[in-house]
Symmetry: C2
Subunit: 398 residues, 2 copies
């Protein structure tokens, strides 16, 4: 039995059909928000109804978020308990087990895995949950218990950092919920070993989304000198070295990230070909150009320059500048990899800005490959347009 | 010394700047086409000039084609001889040798490799040239000689089939230019062996462009029963079987293609798990559904349903229908791969049509991966928008 749930209703002019077809989000301005509904606590489970009070399903409600309701279940009376979490986790797990040999992957990618606003990354015997929607914060203990049961992980971390939580009115908080962490975790990927600090927050964690792009760049790296700009914990550089790059120089502004990259290079057995330089990426690229340094492969994986619509134009200028500075460092016939993790800059505009930057460096280019986030980051069909991660693989001319 | 070349001029209102930046094509309505220029034989090399008669470079001219001129060289006096071909071929070869272990790939992908309108596929010791622009037809012998020199191949085939040649006013003609072919060629790819009939034309040749998509599907195929619709010579099916698919059924309308697929299955050592069914793909899918057949992985790689702008709406309906019929054949939690090789249907519209078809089959889906043509099919930066090959990898629900 489930306790009676409050009802929340669509406004009369809002079409219910997309929700019946699987649309995952209901915006605040699509709902009747009166004194009663505004008083429903953030994270409550509600029965979503169309304007004629016909049930549409079970939703997670947050009157303080622009995404005021998120569809959880087509059955408005579904019990969201350990069994419910377990069934969804097992389905998510089956996909990852079909895709990967070893238990290192994004296990839950939010809406596409039936966990709106929730991300779970698995690192072997440990997992990190990001409850980026209010309902998941409320039900976190139940979810963590189901996660331990479904996967057998012993250590579960709550990673409560990042922009998304603020939009839901949630505070930053990162802590170990169960088990223990003795320092950074070793993560095998693409033939290299990375170090991920699961409690150090975004700056020193690990992003699985770039895995196929690391792999593609590694193919191009064999026998070449490689420059990895915005290197973070060495995602591209270590995969390239493991595949036979002659050398790799990793550039990042964070000393903590570069320290983990160095530890990863040692764990991967490639430390003798690996070097780091700490500093502002633009400054370092300009300095390298002035030194006459050239590389057979240059990778730039910057933070989101266009995180939202207001920032798109400035963001595209930053991508163009990145491309211009990076292209100048590429040997004749060498390779350039340019990444964007900006939702708001779509593939076409990102590609245009990148090619413009390459052209302004006086270099010709052809596009070898366009990569996105790996398949452990599935896209919900109603959100597929918003693929945030793009990687362009270019071969430059003389 | 180069003989004096005729000059062809841009119309006064046509901007020359894109051509200086690398735009590869000049449309007939952008050129001054008078009695003199119309009399220049198709395939001639001309000096392209801006409206003020300043030279823009060397172009291949065809007054009978919509693409009336194609940029060949920034130097209007460049000698297009064996040395010129050789330099471009060696540069194209260096890229493929960086990408692949074995000499089986698209060696020349037209504009992006500096050979406007020309495609060369390499099959070990043999190569097939598609001279799909008039200039390449004129210079074919020189190009073939340079190809033998640069790569060491002994057998060179002219493949003069396909739609593109008609647009240039070229007749169909396929013949062996040098060396000899003793039946179909064995092509190792993704752990399987394919048979390619280089003189049998499009229906029985081999397409390298799907290689990374074959590889991604093969990852999903392990332990599953697989259905490969529009199977051609077994591209997806044989890669899936080599990766451990439980079984594969290949459906195609061409008996010749299925015979090559069966030969490939024997050469790959997977014939005991491979079956074929000849027939119209839509009829066979409907029949399989009626029989209650279900598969863990279904792949549809149809011919271009939307080959040009006029055919887009009908083409999108055909893609939707394909998706609907195919989705009905996928097991709960199984995978569906939908491909389009239509220039005119862009990724967004193809994805929408596909997801609509899946929804009409009553199935939910998430998008795992979007694949394009492999990196031996580089895109020219001015033509990057027109990426023709798209592959959507979906996981369906219950």
């Amino acid at each position: 039995m489930v306790e009676p749930r409050p009802a929340v209703r669509l406004r009369p002019n809002v079409a219910a059909q997309p929700l019946r077809w699987g649309a995952p989000w209901i915006w605040a301005d699509q709902l009747v928000l009166d004194r009663r509904t505004r008083a429903i606590p953030a994270g409550s489970l509600v029965e979503l109804q169309d304007a004629e009070r016909r049930p549409l399903g079970l939703a997670a409600f947050n009157p303080g978020s622009k995404i005021a309701a998120r569809m959880l279940d087509a059955d408005p009376a579904a019990a969201v308990d350990r069994g419910w979490f377990g069934a969804r986790l097992r389905r998510a797990l089956a996909l990852r087990e079909a895709l990967y040999e070893a238990p290192f992957y994004r296990l839950v990618h939010a809406e596409a895995d039936g966990f709106p606003g929730v991300v779970v990354d698995r690192f072997g015997d440990a997992a990190a949950i990001q409850p980026n929607a209010a309902w998941a914060e409320v039900l976190l203990d139940e979810m963590a218990a189901a996660l331990r049961e479904a996967t057998g992980v012993s250590t579960v971390v709550k990673n409560g950092s990042g922009r998304a939580r603020a939009l839901e009115g949630l505070a930053e908080e990162t802590l170990v919920l169960s088990g223990a962490l003795a320092g950074p975790v070793e993560v095998p990927m693409n033939g290299a070993v990375y170090l991920a600090d699961l409690t150090g927050g975004q700056k020193t964690g690990l992003f699985y989304d770039q895995r196929p792009n690391h792999a593609f760049a590694a193919r191009l790296a064999r026998g070449r000198a490689m420059l990895d700009v915005f290197a973070h914990v060495g995602g591209f550089a270590l995969a390239g070295l493991a595949a036979g790059a002659r050398s790799a120089l990793a550039v990042d502004g964070s000393a903590a990230a570069l320290e983990l990259a160095e530890g990863g290079a040692r764990a991967s057995g490639v430390a003798d070909r690996f070097a780091t330089r700490r500093g502002d990426a633009f400054d370092v690229m300009a300095a390298l150009a002035a030194e006459g340094a050239r590389f057979g492969l240059v990778v730039c994986d910057p933070p989101a320059f266009a995180p939202n619509k207001a920032a798109v134009e400035a963001g595209l200028r930053a991508y163009e500048r990145t491309a211009r500075l990076a292209a100048a460092l590429v040997e004749p016939d060498g390779f350039l990899v340019l990444c964007s993790c900006s939702h708001a800059a779509d593939l076409t505009r990102f590609r245009e800005a990148s090619l413009r930057g390459v052209g302004r460096a006086g270099r010709s280019a052809v596009l070898l490959h366009t990569g996105f986030a790996g398949p452990d980051h599935p896209a919900h069909p109603f959100l597929a347009e918003s693929a945030y991660l793009k990687a362009l693989f270019l071969r430059l001319g003389a």
